[in-house]
């Protein structure tokens, strides 16, 4: 095993009686990056993350963090990890300061480091004003923020996050994404499970998709579009006023280069445009010229979404 920044699953398998939750997962992620671990509910995402943090034990195979086996030497393997699995609880009477102090002390951080980092991470998750309040009185979202702060406390090289925006309101979700994005710039490997495609597109560099306990693909986000269709791009259009199916049929679908045009909302449509950037530019110019009230267009997440649905449907 290499000693670099890495996460590796070698034949990782988990069976619960006759049910196979994870089936011989082989995955190696190296270097400073964010990997989005995607899959529908029950696909095996959390099971995988739990085996990487030794919360459950593999039926077969092994998980390595920076080349150290989690199953053989959990203490050493997890010494470089900050994790957030299944929205943990902290002893209710402890304050975030005390909980982080305990977490830091158990990690071997010095008192002054704990104090300094506690201030930084609680500010980062916007919980500074609640530093000395008891954890038991917090809402689910506030607890999740403290959990994120705890995961970041030791400035870990490896972050394992299981749906970190769970339980947060839209603003909180955006803030978590922003935090994860900001962490990417540092020397760090982030392994984040999610079932929210837009979150993965927004934050991650690479994506791995699993379903029924099997890895379906692992690739960079850029390659995902290419894999779907080398010459196709997906664009979402927003209109200032409602647009009808008839308008799409009569004015958008006939435009050369448009292979698919779908109404996805009263004022939104999604196009798949074949051809390169030149064709894309021509299509958008034609739509703008048709005076349909086009106000914006943006690359949609549908490349990932389509690949996701295509791969998932294969297994059904």
């Amino acid at each position: 095993m290499s000693a670099g920044l890495s996460l590796e699953a070698v034949g990782l398998t988990k069976r619960f009686n006759s049910f196979t939750a994870l089936d011989h997962l082989n995955l190696k992620v190296e270097g400073s990056k964010c990997l989005g671990f995607l899959g529908p509910n029950g696909a095996g995402k959390t099971t995988t993350l739990k085996m990487f943090t030794d919360l459950i034990f593999p039926s077969e195979g092994e998980a390595f963090i920076n080349g150290v086996s989690v199953q053989r030497d959990r203490k050493r393997a997890l010494s470089v990890v900050g994790d957030l699995i299944e929205s943990p609880e902290i002893y209710g009477s402890l304050s975030p300061r005390e909980a982080l102090e305990m977490s830091g002390a158990l990690r071997g951080m010095r008192s002054e480091e704990i104090r300094a980092r506690t201030k930084v991470v609680l500010e980062e998750v916007k919980m500074s004003e609640w530093t000395d309040q008891r954890f038991g009185r917090f809402s689910k979202g506030m607890k999740q923020r403290v959990n994120i702060a705890a995961a970041l406390l030791s400035d870990p090289e490896v972050l394992i996050l299981d749906e970190p925006s769970t339980g947060l309101d839209p603003r909180g979700m955006a803030e978590v994404r922003s935090i994860v994005r900001s962490l990417k710039s540092e020397h760090r490997l982030i392994f984040m499970s999610s079932h929210i495609l837009s979150e993965v597109v927004d934050v991650c560099d690479e994506v791995a998709l699993i379903d029924h306990g099997r890895l379906l693909f692992y690739d960079t986000l850029e390659n995902v579009s290419t894999r779907l269709n080398a010459n196709a791009s997906s664009v979402e259009l927003s209109f200032v006023r409602p647009i009808s199916e008839e308008t799409i049929a009569s004015q958008i679908r006939p435009i050369p280069g448009v292979t698919t045009a779908l109404l996805v909302g009263p004022q939104r449509a999604r196009l798949i445009i074949s051809g390169g950037p030149e064709t894309q530019a021509q299509v958008l110019e034609r739509i703008a010229g048709a005076r349909l009230g086009l106000v914006s267009f943006e690359p949609s997440t549908s490349a990932l979404e389509e690949l996701y649905l295509r791969e998932i449907s294969k297994g059904d």
Binding site: E30, N66, S79, I85, P88
Partner: protein, 298 residues
Amino acid sequence: MAATPTATAESTSRTIGQVPETWRQSLLLSRYQFRDYLRSRRFILMMAIVVAIGAIISFILAYFHGTTTIAGLTSSSDAFYGSFWGGGAYVVIIFAGIIFGGDAIAGEFQNKTGYFLMGLPIRRAAVYVGKFLASLGASIAAMVVYLVILVGNGAVYLGTGFFPFALVESFAIALLYLLALLGAVFLFSSMFKNSLYAVLVVAILFLFGFTILQDLIVALVKIEPWFIIDYARVTIAYPFDATLPPHIATTTTMGPRGTRITTTTYSPTYPEGLAIMAGYFIFTAIAGLFLFEREEFT
């Protein structure tokens, strides 16, 4: 399967501090867990139980003071502490064990606090021992409060000079009983992922289950119940006894129609009582840890 994206493995050098030794992590964890206990409602409940027991004893002593009803109890420090400490401390210990230990491990699964702890670079043994130490500390606090109430009453009825060495000896045995009980409680707590089940089983077993079992074994199987922890608890009172009860005593009484009924009663010898407690502690603590090491956070 797609080709794995290539990336460079960079060197890793950001390590904040050295992860402490397991024993040190246990002590650290016990400190925070103990702090959590001190602030919890369960601690207030435990103290309320101890104070209530102490208040009842104080009331009875005050009410019957000077009468023949309790003359025997206040005639000597051995009689006084033998009755109220030797015969009563185990109640406090059992309640403390149930309240502080019943859900100690099960709660880690049910309340999801285990997800916070077990993601840290810490061995499960450190969590187990840390929580055990915290439960032990909180239980000792309850025992000390009970003892203070008794010593206060003792000072009133026996005089301030009556603080027998036997009480120190008995306190030490009570601590051993507490260790054994907590070991067993942690074992049951490790068997369940549900706090309620864990607390219920522990409460039923220790409040009356073991006593009934012991009586049944003696009456029906007619063997010494050395393997039941309840059997050993009378040892707590031994330091106050001038003469220890016989290890095996057989009495014969006349039953209906002239039948002879032979009854055998067992009392543990002093070393045997201590050995049962120590054995219980060692066996149950190891078995509980063994289970906790294998329990999954599913």
